[in-house]
């Protein structure tokens, strides 16, 4: 049986020579968690199923640093590596693959130019094409949007860009279905309401998207403890859960998370 995946996410500040993994706490103070490839090796030892490197600086001159990070990581870490943040073109994607990435995740560029998904999928395969969706709840009714019942009231989910700094009016459920149609092989779904809060994943959002598509969905945003990860696997049919700060600052190891999940009936690789 296919195991549920646990994916540590490394937010990388590439403004220093070898990059560093950072984590914003409630969007403000930045804490430094370490050197990307060193953390990657540590997570490999702990039994992480995949790693995602997000370039939070996302400027062109820093693309080379990301390549270096991936090259160095892929010499010693043999698991799937995804690069995201600032992938704007097929050329950016190719640079990431040449460095040793297995997948690229795109958000803003795909919303602005949806054909980019078709192109990445065609040239590198659906398995290499991750659509990142950053969604925020909207409680005001709007025609044409998919309304979803939640304990907080009926809402729809709006796609946002640039890490939640810009909104698009695009319905996240409809966009997820379109992205699948265009050849995306994985959806990395982040709740902008929960990201950085440690209040737990947005179960209604995760469920709504996961039930609308036939490709794997990765739940992201809000993980603060072991129970949150168990909850998202018990209440939705997502394929994977992503977390950052609970791993970076030593609150839990990946193996602790997996042992807890296994004890509670979730099929994981141990």
């Amino acid at each position: 049986m296919l195991a549920k995946r646990i994916i540590p996410c490394l937010d990388c500040d590439l403004g220093v020579p070898f990059g560093r993994v950072v984590k914003g706490v409630r969007f403000k103070q930045i804490r430094y968690a370490g050197i990307p490839w060193e953390l990657a090796q540590e997570y490999d030892k702990q039994g992480a199923d995949e790693l995602i490197f997000l370039d939070i600086t996302a400027s062109h001159e820093r693309r080379e640093t990301m390549s270096k990070v991936i090259e160095k990581t892929s010499e010693n870490v043999f698991m799937p590596l995804t690069v995201g943040g600032g992938i704007r073109s097929l050329k950016d994607a190719r640079t990431a693959f040449n460095a040793g990435a297995d997948k690229v995740s795109v958000n803003t560029a795909a919303i602005k130019n949806p054909d980019l998904l078709n192109e990445i999928s065609k040239y590198f395969g659906a398995q290499a094409c991750v659509i990142a969706i950053d969604a925020k709840r909207r409680y005001e009714r709007k025609t044409g949007q998919e309304m979803v019942d939640t304990p907080q009231g009926e809402c729809w989910f709006e796609c946002s860009l640039y890490g939640g700094r810009e909104f698009t009016g695009i319905d996240a459920i409809q966009w997820a279905m379109e992205a699948e149609e265009r050849g995306a092989g994985d959806i990395m779904l982040t709740s902008m309401d929960r990201d950085g809060t440690k209040d737990g994943y947005d179960i209604e959002l995760t469920s709504a998207i996961s039930n609308s598509v036939n490709i794997p969905v990765i739940a992201s945003g809000g993980c603060g403890n072991l129970e949150h990860i168990l909850e998202v696997f018990k209440k939705t049919n997502v394929s994977a859960a992503l977390a950052a700060s609970i791993f970076h600052f030593g609150e839990y190891t990946v193996s602790e998370v997996k042992e807890y999940l296994k004890k509670n009936g979730v099929h994981v690789r141990l």
Partner: protein, 199 residues
């Protein structure tokens, strides 16, 4: 020298790095003539069956020579699929080195299968030495191989159907999962393959 065939299908760096890690001596080969000196050959790959076949055509003659000479060969994912007779994905003929077809994953499961799944070992093989029944490997695929001769299947995995995860026939070895992405267990398989090259 272990030749990794570069036929424009995806990331060769990981398989190269993984073979280095287990003390193999990988060389990425994009010129078919270079296959003749190889002690072992790897056909890596992600992508579609049709593109894979098209891009591999220039290697066909040398590939058949390698196999006839008994040199160990490892096909990974698409590199496994193209060894069969026919692929549903592009409705296209494969090399026919192993009898059987490559068909789409069944209804009712998410496609692609993406993630770690357990290996069910059907029979012992040198390639699987040191691997235990139930060990996890990383799979990414939408199609799977159905060998005509079930005895060539040395391990399976369960994803809506009990599918062939490892198929072996004489010096031809083929794996549906990505050993180069399967952490320490994947490296064991590659180490076993490197061992065959030195025999």
């Amino acid at each position: 020298m272990i030749a990794i065939i570069d036929y424009g299908m995806g990331n060769l760096r990981s398989i190269y790095n993984a073979l280095m890690k287990v003390n193999g001596d990988p060389v990425i080969v994009s010129d078919s003539a270079k296959l003749s000196g190889a002690d072992a050959v790897v056909i890596p790959g992600v992508g579609s069956f049709g593109d894979g076949m098209n891009n591999l055509k220039p290697f066909a003659d040398e590939l058949f020579d390698v196999i006839n000479d008994g040199i160990p060969m490892l096909g990974i994912c698409i590199g496994m699929h193209v060894l069969f007779d026919w692929g549903e994905e592009s409705n296209c003929a494969g090399f026919g080195l192993i009898k059987g077809d490559v068909i789409r994953l069944p209804q009712g499961v998410r496609v692609p299968q993406m993630g770690w799944n357990e290996l069910r070992i059907r029979c012992d093989s040198d390639l699987l030495s040191g691997i235990n029944d139930g060990d996890f490997f990383y799979f990414v695929h939408s199609y799977y191989c159905v060998p005509a001769n079930k005895h060539t299947i040395t391990a399976t995995t369960d994803y809506g159907v009990d599918l062939a995860a490892v198929v072996e026939k004489d010096n031809i070895h083929a794996v549906q999962f990505h050993p180069e992405k399967s952490s320490s267990k994947g490296l064991i398989i590659l180490k076993n393959f490197v061992g065959m090259a030195r025999c």
